[in-house]
Symmetry: C2
Subunit: 225 residues, 2 copies
DNA sequence: CGTATAGTCAACACTGGTGTATAGTATACA
DNA sequence: TGTATACTATACACCAGTGTTGACTATACG
């Protein structure tokens, strides 16, 4: 029979493509079930590749897991900052509304990548060396240094808050909302609320004089000291 | 030999205690590896209980998983709001600094519970029926209705942002920081930054007139319309 | 055409979890 | 003292994943 999947039939002649397809499948499994349940068999199945082939590319399960983590980290940086760094050569700062919009769109379009990335940086022990994280923090710092953000921000904590919210929101939404339209609506709600929050905060200042007294309204104004 | 773990030795005569111990172990496994890799064998081992005993309490792996999820949801509510609802009978609103401090302390003291809970509500399909989530949202709404919070907040989104950050911060910290002292310091940084954020936002308003024009500084003031 | 390369296929020994069953033991309690 | 209960210990059949091996085949390229 003219079956294209008959015995010995190669789907593909380019090893690099196969390599990527396996990694992509591994990423999907990783995002779905977490790192503990990543199996070579399942990944090969999902990649539409023979189990033996997977073992040719990644000798052990651990190798596959490690390679996937590295790949996720690299891709997260490339996909988000890749075509971004070229464009924004001018020392114009990317406006926060656009930055937020971009991040939330990215998260909505790449839920697996976002989730796998988060799983990984969240659980990897020791100093955070991830490139995406470092770039994100650095850009935030620059934004503040240029006087656009309040200078009393704790950049790392703030980066954590905005990133974890933005990247996990689509997953929350996916679990609790059906249909593309409502997902888009939910994305918009997130961007709006986030923007509202960074613009005005959440408390009514007059009702919380003791907090203002304690924390002071220092920073953010041009005249800092 | 006078070995207390000789054959047939019962560790415990109260089935309810055993039941709880198994659930507690399951919670730990769940928080460590996620729901996909929860095994009865591993849970029994961790609970210091015979595998057969675990199967007497929970006929299948699925039963155990389901029971654990329910238990986590209930405990999350009880542990956080249990002794809380009694105290705050007066219609005084709990000040936000204390609320935040309480939440972040809770998350730091109960990382497994927080993480398992989050995993669960994050991935359970359909309407969110979780009691803790609903109470959290309701209290936020009340806080706003009483005029303490800005009335243009999108409560659900805001609840998501604050909860996900507060509950996952300790896990992030645990992965990247050693020692109790530095963990306490990190907790303080989180509370401070969060409080700063809800008080003043993150942007310097004068630098973002177009955003203020677009979103307007409505709400939060007493005279709303 | 010949050959190296990339992938398929099947079989195997091994590990570790599932779910069941059965015999045995410690404790509480009537 | 007897007996029900709660747990231990062990064995078994089954399944699914791991990692290895060896034979096979399609494709690219000299």
């Amino acid at each position: 029979m003219a079956n294209s999947t008959r015995r010995g039939r190669r789907n593909n002649t380019d090893p690099e493509t196969t390599h990527r397809e396996i990694l992509q499948a591994a990423l999907e499994v990783l995002a779905k079930d977490g790192p503990e349940s990543l199996s070579v068999t399942e990944v090969a199945r999902r990649a539409g590749v023979n189990r033996g082939t997977a073992y040719q590319h990644f000798p052990t399960r651990e190798d596959l897991a490690h390679a996937t983590a590295t790949w996720v980290s690299e891709r997260m940086f490339e996909e988000f900052y890749g075509d971004f760094l070229e464009v924004s050569e001018e020392n114009e700062v990317y406006p926060p509304s656009l930055a937020l919009d971009r991040l939330s769109k990215f998260a909505m379009d790449n839920p697996e990548l976002s989730r796998a990335w988060w799983f990984d940086v969240m659980t990897t022990e020791g100093e955070v060396t991830d490139r995406f994280w470092k770039e994100y923090v650095a850009r935030l710092q620059e934004f503040i240094d240029l006087g656009h953000g309040r200078d009393d921000i704790d950049v790392e904590v703030y980066a954590f808050i905005t990133l974890v919210s933005s990247l996990l929101w689509p997953i929350w939404v996916s679990a609790h909302t059906k249909g593309k339209k409502s997902k888009d609506r939910m994305r918009q709600r997130f961007v709006d609320e986030m923007l509202r929050l960074v613009l005005f905060g959440a408390l009514v200042p007059e009702r919380h004089p003791e907090l203002i007294a304690r924390y002071g309204d220092k920073g953010g104004k041009r005249g800092k000291g």
